[in-house]
């Protein structure tokens, strides 16, 4: 399956609007402005999707995964950015709660849920189906390893036509940034493309 030019443009528009809302949500959380400097959507085999660019970031990252039927989402934070975002999110907690051990992964799971729900909600509305994100799974590791692991969750290694979206989000003032990935298997992508073309 390939996306028609109309479906591709519609999908890009849908994701762009959703991530603009995500940026507004992150801005409300961190009290700093966020934007989306890059966004792309591509189609191809799962193997092609697996060759996600490693990016220039070395070092440890937080990866937060969510599953929906036929799709997987991943938010990647360089460790320092993840810590800054988690700290901003937890600023309203009392000192007693902040003293609890290692709340950082839990905070990033919640922030990422708030961020990704805009995209999953838009996909659900476009397809005419109710979509609920899974609970987040938060892992730490190398960026490339975490990216590849997203596709294992979708079980699409043999899928000939996945749709992959990639975006960067950044807040220069926090400072913080994250990468957003999503992949839809051929069944889900076909349903979405049909809806966007109709």
């Amino acid at each position: 399956m390939t996306l028609s030019p109309k479906a591709r443009e519609s999908l890009l528009g849908l994701v762009r609007r959703s991530l603009a809302e995500s940026a507004a949500r992150l801005s409300a959380i961190s009290k700093t402005s966020w934007d989306v400097p890059s966004l792309e959507v591509s189609t191809g085999s799962a193997e092609e999707g697996l060759s996600l660019p490693a990016g220039k970031d070395g070092g440890s990252h937080y990866g937060v995964y969510f599953i929906i039927p036929g799709g997987v989402f991943l938010v990647l934070y360089p460790q320092e950015s993840g810590a800054a975002v988690a700290h901003a999110f937890m600023s309203g907690l009392g000192s007693e709660a902040k003293a609890l051990p290692d709340l950082e992964p839990s905070a990033l799971g919640e922030v990422s849920n708030i961020l990704i729900n805009t995209v999953s909600s838009a996909i659900g509305d476009a397809c005419g189906m109710l979509v609920f994100l899974s609970a987040p799974e938060v892992r730490k590791g190398d960026r490339t390893e975490l990216s590849h692991s997203a596709f294992d969750r979708l079980v699409v290694r043999e899928d000939p036509s996945v749709v992959v979206g990639r975006a960067e989000m950044a807040s220069p003032d926090l400072p913080g940034r994250c990468s957003v990935f999503f992949a839809l298997n051929s069944a889900m992508a076909g349903q979405l493309a049909g809806a966007l073309e109709g």
Binding site: F89, L93, A97, S106, G109, E110, L115, L130, F132
Partner: protein, 121 residues
């Protein structure tokens, strides 16, 4: 007079933040739950004035929990507190008897506005 509130959310920090905001506003978070089973058990034990319910849960989804709570007690008062703002989901939860929806992220003022008019049992 404050409300006795059961907080249902799979995320620990989300529960801590909401509990803190509710306490600051003079309400009493009586229990927390993160899945259907623990929610139903806590509801029967505490019979709260209000349940705040997230839609993304570790086991199942919030819509199922809403249905089960309303089946258990047709007078159960449930406020959806979620990052999920899908139009069709919102229509469905209101149809299933939710009091309203508070979208994440929210401020203490947003929360207070959502709770306006809700009285203790």
């Amino acid at each position: 007079m404050g409300l006795r509130v059961l907080i249902v959310d799979d995320n620990q920090v989300a529960r801590l933040l909401l509990s803190s905001m509710l306490s600051m506003a003079g309400h009493e978070p009586v229990a927390e739950a993160e899945n259907l089973k623990s929610t139903l058990a806590a509801y029967q034990k505490h019979f709260p004035d209000l349940v705040t319910l997230d839609l993304s849960l570790a086991e199942g989804d919030g819509l199922t929990v809403l249905r089960m709570l309303r089946k258990l007690d047709s007078g159960a008062r449930v406020l959806i507190v979620s990052g999920n703002t899908q139009r069709q989901v919102m229509e469905q939860v209101m149809k299933e008897g939710a009091l309203g929806v508070l979208a994440k992220p929210f401020t203490a003022e947003d929360l207070a506005k959502s709770l306006e008019g809700i009285e203790p049992r």
